[in-house]
């Protein structure tokens, strides 16, 4: 893919092409933005341009040997660095490890060592490092030297979803290019092309704040999370104290059904990661519903419905808004965010959802319990 074909990151692409055109491409970039907004795709296209032997109008030519090799995914000067590379490390003890962070030995073996050799093909080498929000302090410190003074002609692009996880010393050596969320219409268009219903596409686009990647993941029709979300919200909107325990159970079992289904589609994925993803989705939906309800109180129903995430269930939102004053909604949203942290920390999940659901009833118990 060429830079000009990147459809949704006009500003980022513009920044990159302008700098390229002025002969001022930085040697170290951070591409920052939420999951699934085209950071890696753009990095690839930019790398292709940096490596291209005869760029045309600030974009890769697509014809030279470099571009051909790039498209065949066998460009010797393009290096993608990611944590699972540990599986092909020189050292057996690294290969066996289960990696959670982006470990220093991967950075050393696949970036710092590789950067020292001259490019084979093009005038430069390009390294794209994925998930740099997972770089621990050790790995970041190890990177500092190459980031500041990369051996000639090398470019390093760090992809990052949480800029705050990068040390100031790392950030100060790089130019930061922001990748904003994608517009709703683009996501709808992309999902529609895959046969996803428009209303559903719109919902996912809004829920994930413009991440095409995530929207694509959840809109997978087999099985449909969207259908579940509708039932879920309908029940939430009139949830009574007595139903809480059963409902929590239902959420947990539904989440594990999805986990199993997703694992089948993507056998390489980590099962507990997928499990958390499913559970987080429920909380995200809950958060979106209460946010909608909160806003409805200010803007009034018809106007709010325009912009709501759960525009497809105005009735349920209205019910919530009638039951909870804006301030009460806000308070609950804050608590739901805490629950996400519990899920990530693998706290007893049944309790997490029970607690969460108690918050969706008007019970006073919750208030006292939670603090």
């Amino acid at each position: 893919m060429n830079l000009s074909e990147i459809f949704c990151q006009a500003k980022a692409v513009d920044t990159l092409t302008r700098a390229f055109g002025a002969g001022k491409s930085a040697h170290a970039y951070i591409f920052e933005g939420i999951e699934g907004v085209g950071k890696y795709t753009t990095a690839q296209a930019f790398a292709k341009l940096l490596l291209c032997q005869s760029p045309v109008k600030n974009d890769s030519c697509g014809k030279c040997p470099s571009c051909t090799a790039f498209e065949a995914e066998s460009h010797p000067d393009f290096h993608h660095v990611y944590k699972e590379l540990n599986k092909i490390s020189k050292l057996p003890e690294h290969r066996k490890k289960q990696v959670f962070e982006l470990p220093i030995y991967v950075i050393k073996e696949f970036l710092i060592e590789k950067v020292q050799l001259k490019p084979s093909f093009s005038a430069s080498k390009v390294f794209v490092v994925s998930e740099t929000e997972e770089l621990n302090a050790e790995s970041q410190n190890a990177l500092l030297k190459v980031l500041e003074e990369p051996p000639n002609k090398s470019f390093i692009i760090l992809l990052c979803t949480k800029l705050d996880n990068l040390l100031p010393t790392t950030r100060s050596r790089c130019q930061i290019v922001h990748f904003g969320p994608l517009s709703e219409n683009i996501i709808i268009e992309k999902l529609s092309a895959k046969g996803i219903d428009k209303a559903e596409s719109k919902f996912w686009a809004r829920l994930f704040g413009g991440s095409l990647g995530q929207a694509e993941f959840y809109s997978n029709p087999q099985p449909s999370f969207y259908k579940i979300k509708k039932d879920f919200l309908n029940r939430i909107s009139k949830l009574q104290l007595g139903e809480v325990v059963d409902f929590a159970q239902w959420i947990n079992s539904t989440a594990s059904e999805f986990t199993t289904a997703w694992l089948k589609l993507n056998p390489d994925a980590n099962k507990s990661d997928l499990g958390r993803q499913a559970k987080r989705a429920f909380v995200s939906i809950l958060i979106s519903a209460f946010t909608d309800a909160m806003k409805m109180s200010f803007t009034g129903a018809p106007a709010a419905q325009e912009k709501m995430t759960n525009f497809d269930q105005p009735g349920a939102i209205k019910q919530l808004a009638e039951r909870f004053a804006p301030e009460a909604c806000a308070e609950r949203i804050e608590r739901f965010f805490e629950s996400i942290r519990y899920i990530d920390a693998a706290v007893n999940e049944k309790l997490v959802f029970e607690h969460l659901l108690l918050n969706c009833t008007e019970s006073d118990i919750v208030k006292e319990r939670s603090h």
Partner: protein, 368 residues
């Protein structure tokens, strides 16, 4: 593609070529090797993107031209274990059949179009020398290159062509080896006084190529790569990025204290003295007097050693300490019976000269 190989010749080729194949990679195709069968020539090549090798296989009969990518390890194992004199290899698409007298193997490879290009030697070479001589020069320098990888420029051998000479230098910051090699012809003017750093790994590979007396080697530097062609084999390698230290500054030229020493006797003396050293003892002391050179070593809580050698020395008496390993390394590669040791002061490096071509510098250690 269909080719009949002489098994022994193929096995020898695979022995060398498979050393380039990466054991683990994100691109599985790199674990294959490419066979190219032309009218009367068969080439086998492999690459890990950094080093590439192409081997012209002798005694191969092409029955059908074509190319193929075959899993390297499997093919090598089959060829190694087979007993036949001739093996027929036939490839259609990505399926490879290997036939012997009593055997029939089918293995699955990749489509050859997807295999990265392995650079060959195009156009006229820039340097030409005898392969044996170049290998000797490499052996004299390779051991002195840096093993740890904090300073990458030192992890390779410097090539500096000039006129009919090629200077090779290896150093790890504590010692330096320099070998001046005669070329068969003047080096290309375009690369006159340029510096190239070739990775130690590539140099080691070159050293492994079987060489006959008369084999020539030609070299070309192009696009950050060295392409080395010797007889049946072409090796290509990315060069190391970075600046090599200015080695001339480091080689002392003003030493007056010189002594001629027997290579084997000195090696033996250093080795024996090194027996009584440990992590805390800093080195072996050389005490050079009128008629003798005494090697002493001492290790706390272990003991001490003293080995004396008769020498013919006319300079000032002198004591200096060296890491014994650094002496052993160099004495092992020196081929002449004797060499010259030159010393300045105890805090200046020692210098070893062998023949007209070889200089070795070693930093002393302070013994106090």
């Amino acid at each position: 593609m269909k080719v009949k190989f002489n098994r022994a010749a193929l096995a020898e080729a695979l022995g060398l070529v498979t050393t380039v194949i990466p054991a683990r990679t994100t691109k599985p195709i790199l674990q294959g090797l490419k066979i190219l069968a032309e009218k009367d020539k068969v080439y086998i090549s492999a690459t890990d993107f950094e080093i590439g090798i192409t081997y012209l296989i002798p005694q191969a009969q092409v029955e059908k031209e074509g190319q193929a990518v075959v899993p390297a390890e499997r093919l090598a194992a089959i060829v190694r274990e087979s007993v036949d004199e001739v093996l027929a290899v036939e490839v259609a698409e990505a399926t490879c059949r290997i036939k012997g007298n009593d055997s029939n193997f089918t293995i699955y490879g990749h489509l050859p179009e997807q295999y990265p290009q392995v650079p060959g030697l195009d156009g006229s070479p820039q340097i030409e020398a005898d392969l044996v001589k170049l290998q000797e020069a490499v052996e004299h320098c390779l051991f002195a290159t840096a093993k740890e990888n904090t300073r990458y420029a030192l992890s390779g051998i410097l090539w500096e062509p000039s006129g009919k000479k090629l200077t090779l230098v290896g150093t790890d910051g504590r010692r330096l080896a320099k070998y001046k090699l005669n070329l068969n012809a003047e080096a290309d003017k375009k690369i006159e006084n340029e510096k190239f750093i070739v990775p130690a790994k590539t140099m080691a590979l070159l050293d492994k190529v079987g060489a006959g007396e008369k084999d020539k080697v030609t070299v070309k530097f192009v696009n950050g790569k060295a392409i080395i062609a010797c007889g049946k084999v072409v090796i290509s390698s990315n060069l190391v990025e970075g600046t090599f230290p200015k080695y001339e500054d480091i080689i002392p030229a003003d030493y007056k204290n010189k002594v001629q020493l027997n290579t084997a006797a000195t090696l033996s003396a250093v080795r024996r003295a090194a027996l009584i050293t440990n992590e805390d003892s800093k080195g072996v002391k050389l005490a050079l007097g009128k008629k003798s050179l005494v090697f002493t070593s001492r290790a706390p809580e272990t003991g001490d050693a003293e080995i004396a050698m008769e020498v013919d020395y006319k300079g000032e008496p002198m004591e200096i300490g060296f890491n014994p390993q650094f002496l052993v390394d160099v004495l092992r590669v020196i081929r002449e019976d004797s060499f010259e040791l030159q010393l300045g002061q105890p805090d200046r490096p020692g210098l070893i000269k062998s023949g007209a071509n070889y200089v070795y510098i070693v930093m002393p250690v302070s013994l106090s």
